[in-house]
């Protein structure tokens, strides 16, 4: 069964450093999403991406964040200057759209980001 993959599974970085989290969505999906979950808290929507541009973003997704689809398979989330409060699990998800067979966003396993 197709699945969303994410790398790395765990990233440790120092405050102020830039990080790039990578995701490979399911191949025929057209909508891509990033979510964040701070430990012990709920999952929060960050951004959605469609047709090579941001479709929607939350108030969390400020100027330090950016997303990109650099090639036909990867979808990345960049955090320019990490802060301690960016420590969280980051989930990528993809959605088929356009006559979807399943109204479901498929989640990757997540990348645990630790900022020290």
């Amino acid at each position: 069964e197709p699945e969303v993959t994410q790398t790395p599974s765990h990233q440790v970085t120092q405050m102020g450093q830039e990080v790039i989290l990578r995701c490979v969505p399911i191949s025929n999906h057209l909508y891509f999403y990033w979510y964040r979950q701070i430990l012990g808290q709920k999952v929060e929507f960050l951004v959605s991406f469609y047709n090579n541009e941001i479709s929607e973003k939350s108030e969390i997704f400020d100027d330090q964040f950016s997303v990109e689809r650099p090639d036909g398979s990867n979808f990345t989330l960049k955090i320019r200057s990490t802060k301690l409060e960016d420590s969280a699990m980051y989930f990528c998800a993809s959605f088929e759209a356009e006559q979807p067979s399943s109204y479901e966003q498929y989640f990757g396993p997540g990348t645990r980001l630790t900022v020290t």
Partner: protein, 118 residues
Amino acid sequence: AQTVTQSQPEMSVQEAETVTLSCTYDTSESDYYLFWYKQPPSRQMILVIRQEAYKQQNATENRFSVNFQKAAKSFSLKISDSQLGDAAMYFCAYSFMYSGGGADGLTFGKGTHLIIQP
């Protein structure tokens, strides 16, 4: 803005018994989807069940069923014959679907921690 509320931070049930997790939401839209996701300690997000708002019939997936009350904006999850493997965080989520395809990002509740007593 849409909101999702889960008022039960934690629930406990005996193995083989039935438990109901509550969820309410707020939206001005008429066409949307509701979901229950399970998050075990691995933190993987696993879809349990989904409900289309335009469908009056409550969704069912094996031991999992929902009670969808659109007018009351209520969407509870019932787990029958609880098993040890059901122990996890359960998140209720809402999404608006675009008429031409595509969907908003999911809005999640704070979650309910389900404990299964052997």
